[in-house]
Amino acid sequence: MIIFTQQVLTTLGWIVLALAVSPMVWLLFQPYFKGLSSAERRAAHLLRDMLTVEQCRQLVWHGYLEVPSPSTTQRVYRVPRGRGYVQVIEHGRPVMRLCIQPVESLPDADVVILHKLMIEGNEEYYLQKANKYLCV
C-alpha cells in the first residue's frame, strides 16, 4: 500500500512538473515552429504558381511529379513529393534512379520545383551532377 502511494505521488509529481515546464518549452520553440510552417507555406505557394492543375493533382494523388525530358522523347523524370530518388522512366520502364540535392536546406515543395526547373532548363548539368543508380 505504501509503495503504491509512493508510485502515485511520483507520477503526480512528474505530471505537475511537465505541466509547469511545457509553457516554457512552447515559448522557446514557438518561433522555430512558426518559421518552419511559414517557409513551407511560401514554398507551397510557389509550387502552386509553377504547376498546372493537372501537375498539382498528380503530385497530391500519386506522390510524384512527372517531368518530360526536353532532350529525349520517351524519357520522363519522376520527382517525388518528399525526399528521395528521382526515377528516370524510358519507354514506360524505370531505367535509373538519380540522387541529387540542393546544398542549402529547402522546404520539400521547393525541392520539387528545383528538380522541375533543372530538368527543363539545365538537363545536361542536372544529369552530370546527379549520382546515378541503374535499375537492373
Binding site: 518559421g35 511559414s38 517557409a39 513551407e40 507555406r41 511560401r42 514554398a43 505557394h45 510557389l46 509553377m50 526536353p70 540522387c99 541529387i100 540535392q101 540542393p102 546544398v103 542549402e104 536546406s105 529547402l106 522546404p107 521547393d110 520545383i113 528545383l114 522541375k116 526547373l117 533543372m118 527543363e120 532548363g121 539545365n122 548539368y125 542536372y126 551532377k129 546527379a130 549520382n131
Partner: protein
C-alpha cells in the same frame, strides 16, 4: 519578380514594368536590388531560370528586368 529559394521558402522582390519604363524611383530601386541579389546568388553557384506562363523554364545567365518571373535555385550536388 525575382524569387530566391532558401530555407525560409522563397524571398521575393517585385517591380512594376510600367512604372519602371516611366522612371519611377521605387521600381528602379527594386530592380537594382534584384540585380544585386541575382549577382550575389549566381556567384554562390545558384542557377537562374526565366519563367513564362505556359512555357518550359529557360535558364538565363544574365539578369533580365523584362522577365515576368525569375527563380534562383541554389547549387545542387549529387546525394
Amino acid at each position: 519578380m525575382l524569387r530566391t529559394m532558401s530555407r525560409r521558402g522563397d524571398d521575393r522582390i517585385t517591380w512594376d514594368q510600367q512604372k519602371l519604363q516611366v522612371g519611377d524611383p521605387e521600381a528602379a530601386a527594386a530592380v537594382r536590388e534584384a540585380e544585386r541579389i541575382f549577382a550575389q546568388e549566381r556567384a554562390k553557384g545558384a542557377t537562374a531560370f526565366r519563367i513564362d506562363p505556359g512555357k518550359p523554364a529557360q535558364r538565363i545567365e544574365t539578369f533580365d528586368e523584362t522577365a515576368e518571373q525569375i527563380v534562383l535555385v541554389p547549387r545542387v550536388v549529387g546525394g
